[in-house]
Amino acid sequence: MFNKGNWNEEINVNDFIKNNYTEYLGTDEFLEGPTKRTKEIWKKCEKLLQIELNQGIYKVDSDNIAGINNFEPGYIDQENELIVGLQSNEPLKRIINPFGGIRMVLNSLKQYDLEVPSKLDPFIKGLVKTHNDGVFSAYTEQIKNARRCGLLTGLPDAYGRGRVIGDYRRIALYGIDYLLKEKKKDYHSITDFTDENNIFLKENLKLQIKALNEMKEMATEYSIDLSKPAKSALEATQYVYMGYLAGVKENNGAAMSLGRVSTFLDIYFEKDLKENKLTEKEAQEIIDDFVIKLRLVRHLRTEEYNELFAGDPTWVTESIGGLTNDGSSLVTKTSFRFLNTLNNLGSAPEPNLTVLWSDQLPKGFKKFTTKLSIETGAIQYENDDVMRPVYGDDYSIACCVSPMATGKESQYFGARCNLPKALLMTFNGGVDEIKEIKVFDQIEKLSTESYLDYDHVMQQFRKVLSEVAKLYANTMNIIHYMHDKYAYEAGQMALHDTVIKRNMAFGVAGLSVIADSLSAIKYAKVKPVRNENGITEDFIIEGDFPKFGNNDDRVDQIAVEVLEYFINELRKHESYNGSKPTLSVLTITSNVVYGKKTGTTPDGRKKGEAFAPGANPMHGRDQMGAIASLKSVSKIPFEGVCEDGISNTFTITPNSLGKDENARVTNLVSILDGYFNDKAHHLNVNVLDRKTLKDAQKNPHNYPNLTIRVSGYAVNFNRLNKEQQDDVINRTFHERM
């Protein structure tokens, strides 16, 4: 029935795809709208979503604790659902997951005035140790200080780390029985324990086997049999979803991404369509129902968490498009169908639809995605031409921008460190400028009676960065050692090869602040102003200086130099479990919190002011128009430097993009082609007016679906707090004057 290949000999989904998929070169004309059934189901969900928005949360399941098969089956409308399965027994009812840390769970229960269920007693009494307990038993005072002052923020040390993507397609292609057989084979083959890694692996394989059995049992409760390969498009979609669902029942990671499923599923859709078992309308209906489910995924979070990752994101990232290593595109009709859910169900932030862009993508697909971008603001773009050489042609994006070969690689998520704070520590002898805590003993205070000398500052700054790298690497090693020990993602890892590559994903925030600060020191005259304790509280800046975002090498190269130095320093330290250090320039929405926790910087940014998100230039400092701004960001190298991604958010008013829809689409395609041909990595595209956002802030009820892209994900504008909304409103809108 399917073309044969290596995939018949070994677990190799990629080979199955390459041997069987049908590239689609046409336009969006074939697409169908939503059926009555779809509309009715979605309407039911919208009602619940409204309640959730009003209350902050819909419900919490206090009777059970996270696990693949710890919940009764749940439905939205059992009779009418095509794809079934919910995290708990009701839509939007959140799961309690104490394995990452009990404190976070207790805080969130308290926040919503909910009782603490007795099932949590063993965790509270310390009878069951959590990841968070483990981490804090190993943290040093220095690490705790770095956390406290916000040098390192958003570390996954109190909840699930996420960014692990099971290859959920394997269940549909092979059935769980086959996967179990292979895992058991691997399990029995490990007999030498002179290497402790083998003990680790063997123990975890046992957990993976257990998890696969639980997946099967969980599906059985929904009357779905996952033991054998899927035989139809409906089954394939359902099986893939069951795998994903197991992941989000078991784990509460920040980012629980889906992978790259649409072109895989298309093979089944094409087959059913050809055999007249399915109409286009029915095909779309299955995808719509699948996406409805993905839109309902939730995790129980705290207020502090929401400050860092605003708007309740789950990062159900689905990567769509891209090319094969042979240069044909992986665009199929189901790539279109997936995106078409934005038309059929209205705009929404999840799933996080990510188009893998290449110059060579079919024209019809480019036009369709950009048109949807303009209409919905829900799509992000990432450069397949820079990722494919590093990660092969079957990678998926985890979270916002982080690629990994599907089922063959995994990631240790590491949030980010605050570069501007590291610079201020350079002036302040390793002391945090806000709380005045000493984080680094080894750093001598810069004597700065007069103007700062660039070379001297850089020399000292490098020393600080080396110390930060050491501290950061140590912190990450502790976090992921403990996470593997106390909150291992058995279900998701069961859908990986047994031996995988791992990336240790470090990150930085405040890149443009750093570049501009160093540029000010180099090209203008900067003198620090110190408080009574000798800590910098302001800077006197005389003269002008080049600013990041104007395609000016004098400053853009400073940004590149800092990143290159930092990743090289990180590489000097051995990473846990043989992982490879990578780096991202990504902030999520933490650019606001980071700014709040950081004193005045030498670029003129005042204490408490937000950083620019991701790799964006600082608001209003890009004076040469949008293309110059894009050009500056595209200089940050992906390959060899920032292989975990470089996030850039681009906002333009509709009238500035073109006078009509046609012109806007054409222009946006050209902008993306130009940007990505420059080897840039990522772009969020927002086409909207500041006026709209201001109005939405005042009258949220008029904009129930207003979706905007922030750093690496999309968010419903109404779910941001006032401060975060203001930050979005204050960002640069490229406007025609």
Binding site: K631, S656, G658, K659, N667, D673, G674, N677
Partner: protein, 238 residues
């Protein structure tokens, strides 16, 4: 040789085809009532650029020009007031294989010969302020006779032409106006496109900052619907 430059916009999507780097030259002799760049009027020195520095500035955007069939647009102000510079600059751009557009009112210095310049220009965006001598004077405060010599040189060149006219409600939004405007354009060869542009008031703050009075501040912005309607009318005039 240096040019007096007002500013540079790297995402020009409205002044010629594709993505364009627009170089705004400082200085203009017209005082168009609807001008949205009054800060470009004065000929006082703003930023001086050599040919080399400007070429170096625009060259990095070549891949955007290629992806969009775009290029560089010389705008202003009135670039013709710095004609010696723009001849050399346009030559240098052509040597780089970059498409060059000239956004002009056609009113430069008196008695100038533009034949040499127009050899190096791919596209002229000719902003017709008004078809009549009187209307032109009312709108710009200047006489339009230089425009005719520019059109003569233009007609002797290979440059393509997009004719443009800003439409202001109650001033020039009648069908009658459109007819006569179309008549006027018939003397220009090589017209590829006629663009009617809506008057807008986004520039209000610029007038305030300069302490100038915006002559049309009480006029309505022209709607896109109106423009679409008039463009439709324009098409139907044979």
């Amino acid at each position: 040789m240096k040019a007096n430059i007002h500013s540079i916009e790297t995402m020009g999507l409205f002044d010629g085809p594709g993505i364009r780097t627009v170089i705004f030259f400082q200085g203009c002799s017209l005082r168009c009532k609807y001008c949205h760049n009054p800060d470009t009027w004065t000929t006082k020195t703003n930023e001086l650029h050599s040919i080399d520095s400007l070429v170096a500035l625009v060259k990095p955007y070549k891949n955007y020009y290629e992806s969009s069939d775009g290029g560089v647009t010389l705008s202003g102000g009135e670039p013709l007031l710095q004609s010696e510079f723009i001849i050399e600059f346009a030559k240098a751009l052509k040597a780089e294989g970059i498409h060059v557009a000239l956004d002009t009112s056609g009113i430069g210095k008196n008695n100038e010969d533009y034949r040499e310049l127009l050899k190096h220009i791919d596209l002229v965006l000719l902003d017709i302020k008004h078809y009549s001598k009187k209307g032109f004077h009312d709108m710009t405060g200047r006489d339009n006779s230089n425009l005719y010599s520019f059109i003569k040189d233009l007609n002797n060149s290979n440059a393509k032409v997009w004719v443009r006219n800003v439409i202001v409600e109650t001033i020039n939004d009648s069908e009658e106006y459109i007819k006569k405007f179309k008549n006027f354009t018939d003397q220009i060869k090589n017209i590829n496109k006629i663009e009617l542009l809506p008057f807008h008031k986004m520039c209000n703050s610029k007038y305030d900052a300069l302490d100038y009075t915006f002559p049309l501040k009480d006029f309505n912005e022209t709607s896109q619907e109106k423009i679409d309607y008039l463009e439709e009318k324009l098409k139907n005039i044979i």
